[in-house]
């Protein structure tokens, strides 16, 4: 208590320093007078009296000093003094200060921003209890590469497995459902088992989970709603519990509300959770005898690893395989992976690449700071020597250097945080939607602390080094001695910097080229003047195939007569995305030929289209006429093959008039006649090679609209128009709204849709490009710093050389050679590192090899040119040295 009070007094004492000293001077004066008076009374002369008084006091200055030290906190006082001194120094040398602060700002800012993004993706805790023990498991095959299960197998596995504490499932496809109330909306409604939330370790914030009786057919209709829906539709009213809401026209009782941070394990939207209500015995034979498709998640028993679980599931998997028809059996595999891996899929590589890039930039930045501080330290050797000679202790000098470094680091850190905030906003603005959680990202305090500490450490480490060396007396003599150990160290740093920036530049160039290749590739169709509208019809409002058919017929008729509209086509999907319902090549049966052997071919894409489809997308018909308008009502179902599929099925034959059937297992299906061969189109995303494809006509018959869950309810309308896209878009919206005002329409030009697919590569290329540019700039600044410093150290030497008759060209050569030597080493090391680093990029590159000679050569030349330029400036200064002045100086 008392010591706290004293400390406080001493602390405030720092700021009332002068006042207190004046007062003490008066007190001391009074003391002396009293003493002198007494001494004089005792018979001394005034001079002797004063002398005795001061002697008895123990000296005036030591007394003042002791009093001052007690009055304030000497330690803090020194720091304040050092701070003031440092700031004066910074003002005297603003370029140096700004360079360091800017370097740190870039380093800290970029690192913090990227860490904030990457931390969310790679390291964030999933919002489930003990999420590290959650796995996603199931079968994969060429048509579905994300693990799934079929009811029958799922029930077997769930009953017999021992690796998991619990196993649960959601329906394989999350459908839309309509909230049919005063405020209607199309919602996302996953169906889940009662064990779903307990397995994930989630309990509702309000109400309860599903009860067993609610997951039986004919049980009560209940639902859990999301926090978001609770907020937007029911104002967080707790009265929502046990209230009945209308979903797809039927009353459903709300039994619970999900936590705010809840998310589905596959990250799809979830507004309403509904229980899967099936009789398991019946479900075993549903869906062609395999049970309904599911996505399965499980919680590992403590101490069981993913690999162990996979091994334990093998017998069950083998048993399942024996039940799959033998001709497709070979295509099925078991997949068990952690939930995090399931969620991160391909994003994690991007995240690691980003992290690598930004750490490289941070290293370059730290190296720059180190190098600058060392140069400064070397230049201040004389100052340090003088101060040391005047009695400054080594620890005092070190403290001064420390203060300076910490101040610089702090300034850089503050600027860096501001930059990070800006960068983060930029990332969020340009990031593709496929990167999860990006909208939730914010600057993390831990991350800021991390980078700031890193910056301070780098500052302290390199700022302190010169101060710790005992200044030698020789430095007092006025000769600037080249501190060779520092110079060598700095040269190494520059070589490392150039090498690192070479790696960054190579990576960025590869990614940029890969992105350009993606954008410029021939899609096989034309995206100009084409507008697309994607519409998903709700199950409740459009229950029958006929109602769907009617809707699209009415809509296309209305659209056809719109202003400027030349063509309207309807299809279930459009390229370059894959077709909704593909198949296996081996499942194609050709009339009059034996079936293909199982395991041949691969995947085939398929689309349901209207006759105008090919003209709307400008896909040329290479053979035959394609679909005709009169086929729309014909009983025969014609088919168009892609050129690739035609050449696979009928090499050297005329495909026209051939008859085919798909899914040979279902021999009830009618034969389709080939009426045309269309040119190939990019149909597996932008990066993958196109797969063979066939087009079926979607006739104006209800049977052709009878299909397959959500996929069957979504259609894409392609409209070609001579008017500007926004005008046409408005027209489409108006027409859809007249038919069904509640229906959401997703309108985009085809060009936008294609370009969206390139979002992720664009994001990667942009970010890495940004980092490469930053690293490049920093490395060149670093090189410039080293060369300029060395020139300033060699001023006298150069002066002597010139006085002895060296030509300007020789001086240029002397300096440039030094720069070239450093750059050369850096580039050589950079090439080696690039070759290793770009191997990592291989899987995200498109149309470029990771060992691309042209890229490496270009980057090397750019770096070499920039290095020469950076050395040219000091070389020029060296060459314009006046020998007389140089020799006279110092």
């Amino acid at each position: 208590m008392k010591s706290l009070r004293a400390w406080l007094n001493r602390f405030t004492g720092i700021f009332s320093n002068q006042l207190r000293e004046q007062e003490f001077a008066a007190e001391l004066e009074g003391h002396l007078q009293l003493h002198i008076d007494e001494n004089v009374r005792a018979g001394m002369t005034p001079a002797a009296a004063r002398r005795d008084a001061i002697l008895k006091l123990g000296g005036l200055e030591p007394t003042r000093q002791a009093y001052r030290e007690r009055g304030t906190l000497p330690f803090l006082e020194t720091i304040l003094h050092d701070v003031r001194y440092s700031i004066r120094g910074f003002r005297r040398n603003p370029v140096f200060t700004l360079t360091i602060v800017a370097t740190l700002m870039l380093g800290i800012g970029a690192t913090t921003a990227v860490f904030s993004v990457v931390d969310r993706i790679l390291f964030r805790p999933l919002p489930y209890a003990h999420a590290d023990r959650l796995v996603s498991l199931g079968l994969v095959q060429s048509l579905e590469t994300q693990e799934f299960m079929l009811g029958r197998f799922y029930y077997d596995w769930r009953g017999a497995q021992k690796a998991f504490g619990s196993m649960t499932a959601e329906n394989a496809v999350t459908g839309e459902c309509d909230l049919t109330e005063r405020n209607p909306a199309q919602l996302s409604c996953p169906y889940v088992e009662a064990s779903f939330l307990p397995t994930l370790g989630i309990s509702p914030v309000l109400g309860r989970n599903f009860l067993p009786e609610e997951t039986r057919p004919g049980g009560p209709n209940v639902a859990l709603i999301s926090y978001g829906l609770w907020l937007t539709h029911y104002n967080l009213d707790p009265g929502i519990l046990n209230k009945t809401i209308n979903i797809d026209g039927s009353p459903v009782r709300v039994v619970g509300v999900l936590p705010k941070e809840f998310e589905m394990p596959r990250l799809q939207a979830a507004d309403v959770l509904l229980p899967i209500a099936v009789n398991e015995t019946e479900d075993r034979t549903a869906n062609g005898g395999f049970g309904s498709p599911r996505r399965v998640f499980a919680r590992l028993n403590p101490g069981v690893s993913v690999q162990q679980a996979e091994a334990e599931l093998q017998p069950l998997f083998q048993q399942t395989l024996s039940q799959i028809p033998s001709d497709i059996r070979h295509d099925f595999h078991l997949k068990v992976r952690s939930l995090r891996d399931r969620q991160m899929q391909d994003v994690s590589l991007t995240a690691w690449v980003l992290l690598g890039a930004v750490l490289t930039v941070l290293l370059i930045a730290c190296a720059n700071v180190a190098s600058l501080l060392m140069a400064r330290g070397a230049m201040r050797q004389r100052e340090l020597a003088v101060r040391s000679a005047l009695g400054a202790s080594r620890s005092r000098l070190a403290r001064q250097a420390l203060t300076e470094s910490v101040l610089l680091s702090l300034m850089g850190a503050i600027a860096g945080c501001a930059l990070a905030e800006g960068l983060l906003r930029l990332f969020i603005a340009i990031a593709p939607t496929s990167i999860p959680y990006l909208s939730k990202i914010h600057l993390d305090l831990r991350i800021i602390c991390f980078t700031v500490i890193l910056a301070i450490l780098s500052g302290v480490l390199f700022g302190l080094a010169p101060a710790l060396q005992k200044p030698s007396d020789a430095m007092l003599s006025g000769r600037t001695l080249t501190s060779t150990s520092h110079a060598t160290m700095r040269q190494w740093l520059v070589v490392a910097q150039i090498a690192a920036s070479m790696v960054l530049l190579t990576g960025a160039t590869l990614l940029l080229r890969s992105f350009r290749n993606l954008e410029d590739q021939n899609l096989g169709m034309s995206t100009d003047n084409t507008l697309t509208a994607s519409i998903t019809l709700g199950e409740h409002s459009y229950p029958t195939p006929q109602s769907k058919l009617n809707f699209y017929q009415q809509l296309t008729t209305r659209l056809r007569f719109g202003p400027g509209i030349t063509l309207v086509s309807v299809s279930d999907t459009i390229p370059p995305g894959g077709g909704g319902l593909g198949g296996r090549f081996e499942e194609i049966a050709v009339a009059g030929r034996p079936l293909f052997t199982p395991g041949t071919g691969g995947v085939v894409a398929s689309r349901l289209v209207s006759p105008e489809y090919f003209r709307a997308l400008n896909i040329p018909m290479v053979q035959g006429n394609g679909f005709r308008e009169e086929d729309m009502t014909a009983s025969q179902r014609p088919i168009v093959l892609s050129k690739r599929l035609a050449s696979l099925l009928f090499p050297g034959q005329n495909p026209l008039g051939q008859r085919l059937r798909f899914d040979r297992l279902m021999s009830t299906e009618a034969w389709s006649t080939v009426v045309g061969v269309a040119a190939d189109v990019k149909n597996s995303g932008l990066t993958k090679e196109e797969v063979p494809e066939y087009y079926r006509l979607r006739r104006n018959l209800p049977g052709d609209w009878e299909c397959c869950g959500t996929w069957g309810r979504t259609s894409v309308i392609v409209v070609r128009s001579s008017l500007p896209p926004d005008q046409t878009a408005r027209w489409i919206r108006m027409q859809v709204a007249t038919l069904d005002p509640t229906l959401p329409v997703d309108i985009a030009t085809l060009h936008q849709r294609v370009s969206k697919l390139a979002d992720q590569p664009r994001f990667q290329a942009l970010l890495i490009g940004f980092f490469a540019a930053t690293g490049f700039a920093l490395a060149i600044i670093g090189l410039y710093g080293v060369i300029a410093y060395s020139v300033s150290q060699r001023t006298r030497e150069i002066g002597v050389r010139m006085a002895l008759g060296a030509q300007r060209a020789c001086v240029y050569q002397l300096v440039l050679k030094e720069g070239a030597r450093l750059a050369g080493w850096g580039i050589a090391a950079g090439i080696a590192c690039s070759l290793a680093a770009t191997l990592l990029l291989r899987s995200i590159l498109f149309g470029v090899q990771s060992w691309d000679v042209a890229t490496l050569a270009t980057v090397a030349i750019v770096l070499a040119a920039a290095s020469l330029l950076a050395s040219y400036i000091p070389a020029h200064r060296a060459a314009s040295i006046n020998p007389v002045e140089a020799l006279r100086a110092e």
Partner: protein
């Protein structure tokens, strides 16, 4: 006795407080003189060391100071005990007496053979 004892660590504050308690508000020089006289000139006291000690006691709230005029009309700063200062003095006195008593017993014991 030629050699004067140095002021023992921590005892100066106690002496200062006791002096002020006995004599009432007093200036630095007065305190210094009084301590010297009380010790029977056995203590070597640098008057200068008194001032940081006074400042410390003031910072800790045991003393308060104000400017005044001395008997012979010199301007001087007068220190007086605060209430907490009085309490501190009692406490310190008790502590000190205890310490010396214990020490005395030890020294007495050491002289007797076991």
């Amino acid at each position: 006795m030629n050699e004067k004892a140095d002021v023992k660590q921590g005892t100066l504050a106690l002496m200062v407080l006791k002096t002020i308690e006995t004599l009432g508000p007093l200036h630095g020089y007065g305190i210094a003189r009084r301590i010297e006289q009380t010790s029977g000139d056995l203590l070597s006291l640098n008057y200068g060391t008194l001032y940081p000690a006074l400042l410390k006691l003031e910072q800790e709230g045991y003393l308060a100071s104000e400017w005044g005029v001395s008997d012979n009309n010199r301007k001087a700063k007068f220190y007086k005990l605060t209430r907490t200062g009085r309490r501190q003095l009692e406490k310190e006195t008790r502590n000190w007496e205890q310490t010396t008593a214990i020490l005395a017993r030890f020294l007495a014991g050491a002289e007797e053979p076991l």
